[in-house]
């Protein structure tokens, strides 16, 4: 069985800052994962549909526009609608402290801000996926 961990890295919303998403994508590739990178300005619908078609274990959302409290709940809801409740969701970007708890309550399992150690992100994913 050579099942690889498959991760969708998506940038929902309108900000054009994709550096963080690319750094994470590369770090996860270097950790042996298959990373599907979808580029800028994805709608929540596009993210959920790509997650379904690509049969990913993990969805990483990079949001720096401040719209995370709108976009993340929508993505999580669409994933549920498509029967992808078992997909691990994590968020990266600029997330104020007070939003962390509500996002976690939605089912987001990891939140990584600027300066997060990429090795730790990779380790977090491996641990979460293997314990699932």
């Amino acid at each position: 069985m050579d099942r690889k961990i498959r991760v969708l890295i998506a940038k929902p919303g309108l900000d054009g800052h994709d550096r963080g998403a690319k750094v994470i994508a590369r770090a996860l590739r270097d950790a042996g994962m298959e990373v599907i990178y979808t580029g800028l300005r994805q709608t929540p619908e596009m993210v959920a549909e790509a997650a379904l078609q690509e049969d990913v274990d993990v969805v990483g959302l990079s949001i720096l526009s401040g719209a995370h409290m709108t976009l993340v709940p929508r993505v999580v809801e669409l994933l549920k609608q498509k029967g992808l409740d078992d997909v691990l969701v994590f968020v990266g970007g600029i997330i104020p402290d007070e939003d962390v708890a509500p996002l976690k309550a939605l089912g987001v399992r990891g939140i990584f801000g600027p300066g997060a150690n990429t090795t730790e992100v990779a380790r977090f994913i491996v641990e979460q996926v293997e314990s699932a």
Partner: protein
């Protein structure tokens, strides 16, 4: 990790009745190369064979992904459903991969008549992944009328696609200094349709002329040496005698994929090639060749696996050590392993 809880049979049945989630899981299973994957193919194989399998290959930067995006839209406008397989390389260092072809395919989102799947090569070298043919079979059986396969795009030695697709598009772009590269790599020999993308750029006419000249050079024996090194045409289709249809000469289609220019002409050229395959003996010859190549690959893999199990990890390691220390040569070692 999402697991296929359903039996292979159930998964195939769901995937073939329009359950997209089941199709996605089925593809993962096919990629994982297990007994269950083989069982899935056993159920898929008799139900496939209707789709037009179209390969898209060419050097990096020629615009393959954008072209696939536009082609898929063109076929959708013609009322046909489209499956896309986009292959990107696995890093030989980490075993991971970044699959980025969806970036250029965002237009196709939200259309139930389209299914896109990114695949990593996972160690295969011919421009496709080991399971690409099986995944194409799954999309075919699931009812997609067109299956577009985008290869890695190393630009050279990507002949695997000729063994997997019915129609092969070779994409060139002006200004890449590609002419000699193309001759060298033998990539033109596998082309059924030549595409000069980015045709609004300077030098496009030169690229078209160079391709034209190369086609002229190879025109006479073309039908016979089609897919020269991989295709056994001598006995199955002597081109002129029993064949009513004239030999196929690859058309050269100019496109500007980012503007959608030339795409309808390209879709038309693909349809004409499909019609040619159906009308001539070449279609049957290719199907046979594809079956032979698939069987060959599976036999190789199965026999190697069986041998590995017979000899065992320790036994194999011992022989490797003896070869490494030049105690015996690799050919003698291989023979002794096989003969026991």
């Amino acid at each position: 990790m999402p697991q296929a809880r359903r039996s292979p049979r159930q998964l195939v049945d769901s995937a073939l009745t329009g359950d997209r989630r089941a199709l996605a899981r089925l593809i993962s299973l096919l990629e994982s190369n297990t007994q269950a994957a083989a069982e899935c193919v056993a159920h898929l194989h008799p139900r496939a064979g209707r789709a037009a399998i179209v390969g898209v290959t060419g050097a990096p930067g020629t615009g393959k992904s954008t072209l696939v995006n536009e082609l898929a839209k063109a076929f959708r406008r013609r009322g046909r459903t489209v499956g896309v397989i986009a292959v990107d390389p696995t890093s030989p260092f980490s075993g991971g991969a970044i699959l980025g072809d969806r970036i250029r395919m965002r237009d196709l989102s939200g259309d139930d008549g389209v299914f896109i799947r990114s695949m990593a090569t996972r160690g295969s070298l011919g421009g496709l992944a080991r399971a690409t043919a099986d995944v194409a079979c799954a999309l075919d059986a699931a009812g997609f009328a067109i299956v577009l396969i985008e290869t890695v795009g190393a630009g050279q030695s990507e002949v695997d696609i000729a063994r997997t697709a019915d129609s092969v598009l070779v994409v060139e772009a002006p200004g890449l200094g590609d002419e000699v590269q193309a001759i060298k790599a033998g990539i033109l020999e596998i082309a059924d349709v030549l595409v000069v993308n980015k045709a609004d750029r300077e030098g496009a006419e030169n690229t078209v002329r160079a391709l034209q000249a190369m086609l002229d050079l190879g025109a006479a024996p073309r039908a016979a040496r089609h897919h020269g090194q991989v295709m056994d045409v001598a006995d199955s289709s002597s081109p002129a005698d029993d064949d009513q249809a004239p030999a196929w000469r690859p058309p050269i289609v100019k496109t500007v994929a980012v503007e959608g220019k030339g795409i309808d002409e390209l879709a038309g050229a693909i349809d004409r090639h499909q019609a040619h395959l159906a009308a001539s003996s070449e279609g049957a010859a290719r199907r046979r060749q594809r079956a032979a190549a698939e069987l060959d690959a599976i036999l190789r893999e199965t026999l190697l696996e069986r041998l590995r199990q017979q000899v065992g990890r320790v036994g194999l390691d011992g022989v490797v050590d003896r070869v490494a220390s030049r105690e015996i040569d690799p050919y003698t070692a291989a023979r002794s392993l096989i003969d026991g």
